[in-house]
């Protein structure tokens, strides 16, 4: 069990922080939109996504639109909770 005031190591990276921020305010976001919003190039995003998925902070959905695969992501309840805690900890550390 992590202490209440502790920053979550999973959100240390800017990319993972960005992914979670986007998923906090959107239900499902596909890979392409995610990449464009974060301003990333290909390849960079995938590893961060899979580590968040392993932690069960995000959920992955694979669909086919015609013959094109479309992968979308959504934050899980656990992910939202942990991210909220992380923001609280950041704010507390900054004395807000």
């Amino acid at each position: 069990m992590k202490g209440f005031n502790q920053l979550n190591k999973a959100f240390e990276s800017r990319v993972r922080l960005g992914v979670m921020s986007i998923l906090m305010v959107n239900d499902w976001v596909n890979y392409k939109d995610m990449k464009e919003t974060l301003g990333l190039t290909d390849g960079n995003l995938a590893s961060h996504i899979s580590s968040l998925e392993k932690l069960e902070y995000i959920e992955v959905r694979k669909q086919f639109i015609g013959k094109k695969p479309l992968t979308s992501y959504s934050a899980t309840k656990l992910g939202k909770l942990e991210f909220k805690k992380h923001i609280d900890a950041l704010e507390k550390l900054l004395g807000r």
């Binding site: 922080l17 921020s21 919003t37």
Partner: protein, 214 residues
């Protein structure tokens, strides 16, 4: 200190990613300024068109349907309104795509679609109702109704764009209701709502958010 700086940057990053992914922030203030100018020109054309006839706009809308009234060129009026709308959309599109390019954002993203559907559905409903009124020859509610529906569209669109749009929407709704209550001031209120308020709002937004990036 360094840690503090990183935490602060993290929070700023979180805020910016939340905004960027859920709000359409490429909308340019300059498009508002130009829409306002076109609206004022349109309103002036309509005003002088009535003045050139035997009745002013106010006298005309206050007279009852079926009373002895001069014929009004309905399709000419609809044409002016559509021209104002088209010119505003084209200019708005140009300024907005320019701003998106400068910010390195995609213009037509999911938040843009959400914003447009929230804005356009009330706007189309209001426009259609206006045309129905125009065709029945009953003019008096046309200008206030377009204000009212436009205001409602802006209010709901503000959830997916700048929060400031909400206040613009509320002002348009108020003007629309005043126009429905005090028949005869429709054209004046329309010029204030679509003209003056757009110019004021657009200039305010431009100075607040865009001057830096230009």
């Amino acid at each position: 200190m360094d840690d503090n700086k990183k935490h602060l940057e993290d929070l700023t990053h979180i805020r910016s990613m939340m905004d960027r992914s859920s709000r359409f922030l490429s909308l340019s203030g300059l498009s508002g300024v130009f829409a306002g100018i076109y609206a004022l020109i349109g309103a002036a054309i309509v005003y002088f068109d009535f003045q050139a006839g035997s009745m002013s706009y106010a006298q005309y809308v206050r007279s009852a349907v079926g009373e002895e009234r001069p014929t009004v060129r309905i399709y000419y009026l609809i044409g002016v309104a559509i021209l104002v709308l088209l010119a505003s959309i084209v200019t708005g599109f140009a300024f907005t795509s320019r701003k998106a390019k400068k910010q390195n954002l995609k213009m037509w993203d999911s938040s843009a679609k959400l914003m447009m559907s929230n804005l356009m559905i009330p706007l189309i409903a209001g426009g259609a109702l206006g045309i129905i009124f125009l065709q029945s020859g009953d003019f008096k509610y046309v200008a206030p109704i377009t204000l009212l529906f436009y205001g409602m569209g802006l209010y709901s669109a503000s959830k997916y764009s700048f929060v400031e749009l909400r206040y613009l929407g509320l002002c348009e709704i108020a003007l629309g209701l005043i126009g429905c209550a005090y028949i005869g001031y429709g054209l004046l209120l329309w010029s204030i709502g679509f003209g003056v308020l757009h110019i004021v709002y657009g200039a305010f937004m431009y100075y607040k958010y865009e001057r830096k990036i230009d």
